[in-house]
Symmetry: C2
Subunit: 182 residues, 2 copies
Amino acid sequence: MKAEDYKILNSEYLFNRPWLTVRKDRLQLPSGQVNEEYYVLEYPDWINVVAITKEGLFVMEQQYRHGLGQVGIEICAGVIEKGETPLQAAQRELLEETGYSGGTWSEEMVLCANPSTTNNLSHSFLAVGVEKTAGQHLDRTEVIEPILMTADQVRELLVNDKVKQALMAAPLWKYFSTHGLL
Amino acid sequence: MKAEDYKILNSEYLFNRPWLTVRKDRLQLPSGQVNEEYYVLEYPDWINVVAITKEGLFVMEQQYRHGLGQVGIEICAGVIEKGETPLQAAQRELLEETGYSGGTWSEEMVLCANPSTTNNLSHSFLAVGVEKTAGQHLDRTEVIEPILMTADQVRELLVNDKVKQALMAAPLWKYFSTHGLL
């Protein structure tokens, strides 16, 4: 099976707004059959951060998420701006959303929310030894409440599916399992 | 922070097709400020399945995913049809996409692709001891190649981020970590 055997016969943008870009492709399959409406949601790449303070506490965020209509506990996440590396975006977002910075950073994994419907990747970072160095600097419509939690508290959230976003649950499962914390 | 403090002032459907439903809300924040365009992608709930044969092999799938434009290795996944329970949908999808059925089923986790932009949940099942009992029954535009893999092969994919879809990576990380396979 090869990606090259799938051919875009026609492509048009149905919608192009800062928070929603919808492309509609006519896609020819290897068999010659045509999928007349294949929708792709285009986004810039994203980042998120498993951030742990010098004291060993996890920097989590409480935030209302309107898709599910629920307040949830998350890790810091955001969009990579033009000209930024994934690491720069992750460090900027953590500072803006929580006021934490510094520490030792590494890229933990690169996943995708949905390879069939979205065209972007999400880079997950691990930041160990961060410190509070500033206040929050949020966008106009952002409401984010940073919360420090122990590893036990985060594990409890994780095993009970309370970290609902799969792009955040996966790096937390990886971190907890590879650090003997389960 | 409470979900009830966020109020939908106005809601309209911009797009309503079988594979893409876009809702646009005007959302009032607790501060009284209004987010004039909050887009929610509406989907039915989804399922996926970590399926393991009687011989201990993982039932994986090779499939082209047009969002990323890549052929990837995945676990079985699909949509819950009207009137189905998540378990019924998972068993139907595994049978249709791979021809495997039977075994012992349990719900491993319930996540969301993106709680801020999507309104649906994804139920992950674990099916242990499945057997090949039928051929594939695919939809007209589906091209899926089932592949049996050892735990070592799947772990190799997982730790190298080759299972790109976060909704599939998370239950695999959970399975491998809680079964001492990492």
